[in-house]
Symmetry: C2
Subunit: 453 residues, 2 copies
C-alpha cells in the first residue's frame, strides 16, 4: 500500500429526495424536496458547516422517460428546480461552499451559458462550477425542435466548440478592464476588451460577454463523460471529473488513464481532480447499515426497477424478458455509451438476473455502493484515496435529509480527525478550495481594439 | 376631472447604476452596482419595505452598441448580472416583493424560459414575472448564430407562438397532480398530466415541463411593446404593460386603446395593468430638484449623448450631422419602431437640436421625466391615475441608491397618507398583490393519458 499524503475533496450530490430510486417513499424522506427551497437551503448549509467543497446538481431538460405510465407515476424524480436558478438562490444563504450546476451543451447556446455561470460566479463571490454534459435522451431532443437526440460523436464535437466559445466569452475582458473613473468619465479601458468573433462549425458568436471576467477567471469546469470520447474531452478540458467506479482496480485504471491523457494534453495532472460517486449507507453496526439498505430496496416497485434499468441501458425495453432470467445482449445506442457498458459488465461479472441487476443499481445507478459503520466508510474512502483511485468523492445520499446528515455528523469528524479532510475552508473561491489555479486570460497578451459594430 | 377611487401599483425599475445615462458618474452613485449583489440586496429590501409591487429588470443578450470606442468606454451599462440568476438570489433575501425579469423570445427556447420562470416562481413562493421582449439589436443576433436581427413582424409571430408554448408547458400538470403517497408508492396522478406535443411554425416542443405548475398558475406576464404589432400582442396576452408616455393626453390615448383592444380579445380590462415609466428627480424645493437634474445633465459627455440618441432612433449614425442643428429625417428600421417615433415626435414638437434632443432623453430614454418636491411628484402621479392614463407607475431612479431611497422615504409616505398606495401587502403572490386572477389550467378539463415515449 502506498502512503499518499494530504487531504481529499468532498462534494454533496443532492438529487431531489435522494439517490435511491425509492428514496421519496422512506418515512423520513422529504418527498417534496425537488421544489422546496427551505429544504435545499437547510441541506446546503449543512454541507457548508461540514466544509464540503461543493454541492452538485444533475440536470435534464425533459421529464425522465419511463416504459409505462405505472413506473412514471411512481418516480420521485419528476419535477424539480432548474439548477442555475436554485444555486443562485442558495448563493445568497451560503458563504463558502462551491455551487455546481449541470448544463447541457447540446440544448443550450454558449452565450447564455457563459453569461449565467459568470453571473452565478459574481453572485456567489467566486463559487460557481459548471458540470458539462451532452445530454442523454431523445425526450430532451423533442423539447428542442428535434425528433432524435444528436449523434454521440457530433454531440462531443459540438461540446468541444461550445466550451471553447464559453471560455472565449469569459475572457472578453481582462481582470482589470473596469476603471470606473468618475472624474474622467471613463468606465473601462478600451485596450482591455477582446471581441471574440468566433465562427465555427456549430456556432457563430461575436461577443463580447456582457458580464465582466468571472471572479474565478473561469468557473470550475467539471465533467462526467466516461466513453472514450468523453474521457478524452474530460482530460483535455475539465478540472474535476465525476465518475462511476465499482471496484478499486477499475477506479485505479480510470484514474491513471485520465491523468496520463491530461499530461498528454500538456496539463498538470494535479489540476484534474477525480471524484467517484459514493452511495454510502451508514449504521452503528455493519448489520444495521445492511438492514437500512435492505429496507430501501424493499420500497422499490418492480415496474420502477425495470424502468430504471431500461434507462441505464440506453432505453431498451426489457419488459418482454423474464424478470428472473439473464440480461439479454443489448444493441449499441448513441446515448450514454459508458453507462451501458458498466451495467452490462456488472450483470456478467456477478451473473445477475434482470431483477437482481435492477436491485443492484437501484441505489446508486452504477456508482459505488458501500454500507457499514462510520469507521468502515472512512476506511473505504481512505483506501481509494491512498491507492490513487480518487482525489475526492462525490457523496450521493440515499435519501434526504438523513443521508446527508448522517454522513456529516458521523463520517466527516472521523475524516477530519485522521487529517484527511479540512476543518476550515482554505480559500475564498471554489477554485482556491479545490487547489486549482486561476486561468490566465487567453487574450490578455494581445489586446484588440474595442470597436464593436 | 374624474374621481377614480382606489390605489395604484408601483414597480422599481433597477438599472445597474441608475437610469440617467451619466448615473454612474454621480459622486454618490454605486458605480459597481451591476455586479455587486450586496447592493442589489439592499435595493430590493428597500423597495420591499416601501411595499412596492415589484422590482423590474431589463435585459439584453449583448454588450450595448455604440458608435465609437469613446462612447462605449464611457457607458456605465456594459456589464451586469443576468436577471433570472439575480432575481433567484434576491428571492432568498426578500419575502413579499414581485421579481420581474426580462427575457427575449427571439434568442431563447420556450422550454428553458418556461422552466426558469416556473423555478423562480417556486423559489420565491409565487413572486415571479416575465417581461416578454423580442430584442432590439443586430448585436444580439450576432451572439446567436445570425448576421441580422430577425424582421419585426417575424419576431412577433415567433413571440406569439413562444408565449403559447410557454403557457402550454406551465399547464403540463394540474395544480393537484402530485399526490406523493408514500404508502402506495404513487407520486402523481396520471390523469393530471398533459403532454403538450406542440408542433408549430417556429417550435416543436413535446413537453411535459419538469417543474410542477407554477404557484401563480403562470408567472405574471408583462410587456412593453408599443408599435401597432406590439400593442396588439400586449393587449392579447399581457397582464402588465410597461410603457413610455410623455404627456397626459398621449398616455390617456394609449391607455384607452389598450383597454379597448383587451376587451376585443374577450379580456377583462381590469386585468391589464398599464404602468408608464417615471423618471423622477426629487428636491425639497422645485428649484433644488431642477438643480439636481441639471447636475446630472452636466455629467453627460457629448459622445455618450450622441450615441444614446443614435441607439434610440434605430442605430442611425448621427455623428455627421451638426450637433446644434435639427434632427434629420430618419429611415424606418426593423428594430424598435415605437421608440423611433416617440423620439422623432419629441424633436419636432419642441423644435429641438440634436444636442437638445439627446439631453432631453438622456435621463429617461423617452420616458416621462418629472422634477419637483415630493408633494409635486405625488400630484403628478395622482393626476395620471385619476384621469385614466395609468394603473400604476414603474419608477426609474436617476441614479442608485439615492434615486430609490428618496422616492421611498419622501414620496411613498405621501401616497400612503392619501390612500393611493398600500401600507401592507394584500396577498402572498405578485399576482394577488396586483389584483390579477390566477389562470385556470387550459387542459385541466380534458386530461390526457400520461404515456410519454
Amino acid at each position: 500500500m502506498s502512503t499518499r499524503e494530504g487531504q481529499y475533496r468532498l462534494g454533496a450530490f443532492l438529487l431531489n429526495t435522494g439517490h435511491h430510486v425509492a428514496a421519496w417513499r422512506h418515512p423520513n424522506a422529504w418527498s417534496e424536496n425537488g421544489l422546496n427551497f427551505a429544504q435545499y437551503k437547510r441541506l446546503a448549509q449543512t454541507a457548508e458547516q461540514a466544509k464540503f467543497d461543493m454541492i452538485f446538481f444533475a440536470d435534464g431538460v425533459a421529464v425522465r422517460r419511463e416504459h409505462s405510465t405505472d413506473s412514471l407515476t411512481r418516480s420521485g424524480q419528476i419535477v424539480y428546480f432548474e439548477p442555475i436558478t436554485l444555486l443562485s438562490a442558495l448563493s445568497a444563504v451560503t458563504e463558502h461552499i462551491g455551487l455546481v450546476a449541470t448544463a447541457s451543451t447540446t440544448y443550450n447556446e454558449p452565450y447564455h451559458i457563459a453569461r449565467k455561470f459568470a453571473s452565478l460566479d459574481y453572485l456567489s463571490g467566486g463559487r460557481a462550477g459548471w458540470n458539462v454534459v451532452t445530454s442523454a435522451t431523445h425526450a430532451e431532443a423533442r423539447n428542442f425542435n428535434r425528433e432524435q437526440h444528436m449523434d454521440h460523436e457530433l454531440r462531443y464535437e459540438r461540446a468541444r466548440e461550445f466550451v471553447q466559445v464559453v471560455t472565449g466569452l469569459w475572457d472578453s475582458w481582462t481582470d482589470d478592464a473596469f476603471i470606473r473613473d468618475k472624474e474622467t468619465g471613463v468606465y473601462f479601458d478600451a485596450d482591455k476588451l477582446h471581441v471574440l468573433n468566433h465562427k465555427g462549425d456549430h456556432f457563430s458568436v461575436q461577443g463580447p460577454l456582457n458580464v465582466a471576467r468571472p471572479i474565478q477567471g473561469y468557473p470550475v469546469i467539471i465533467q462526467a463523460g466516461a466513453s472514450d470520447t468523453g474521457r478524452d474531452f474530460a482530460a483535455a478540458t475539465s478540472e474535476v471529473i465525476f465518475t462511476a467506479q465499482q471496484t478499486l482496480a477499475d477506479a485505479q485504471a480510470f484514474y491513471a488513464d485520465i491523468k496520463r491523457q491530461a499530461v498528454a494534453y500538456g496539463r498538470n495532472p494535479e489540476h484534474v481532480k477525480i471524484m467517484p460517486g459514493i452511495f454510502a449507507v451508514i449504521g452503528q453496526t455493519e448489520s444495521e447499515a445492511k438492514e437500512k439498505y435492505d429496507y430501501l430496496q424493499s420500497l422499490i416497485h418492480p415496474s420502477v426497477g425495470l424502468s430504471l434499468l431500461s434507462g441505464l441501458v440506453g432505453g431498451v425495453d426489457l419488459s418482454s424478458y423474464p424478470l428472473d432470467g439473464p440480461l439479454p445482449d443489448l444493441p449499441e445506442t448513441n446515448l450514454q455509451k459508458s453507462r451501458l457498458q458498466l451495467v452490462t459488465e456488472l450483470a456478467r461479472r456477478d451473473n445477475l438476473t434482470i431483477r437482481q441487476l435492477y436491485e443492484a443499481v437501484a441505489g446508486a445507478r452504477g456508482h459505488r455502493t458501500i454500507w457499514g459503520t462510520p469507521e468502515q466508510i472512512a476506511d473505504q474512502l481512505e483506501e481509494w484515496y491512498i491507492n490513487e483511485a480518487a482525489d475526492g468523492f462525490n457523496i450521493m445520499p440515499p435519501y434526504l435529509p438523513d443521508g446527508l446528515d448522517e454522513f456529516v455528523e458521523q463520517v466527516v469528524p472521523i475524516l477530519q480527525k485522521r487529517g484527511r479532510f479540512r476543518t476550515e475552508y482554505e480559500g475564498r473561491t471554489l477554485r482556491e478550495n479545490l487547489g486549482l489555479p486561476r486561468p490566465v486570460n487567453q487574450f490578455s497578451e494581445t489586446p484588440i481594439p474595442a470597436t464593436v459594430s
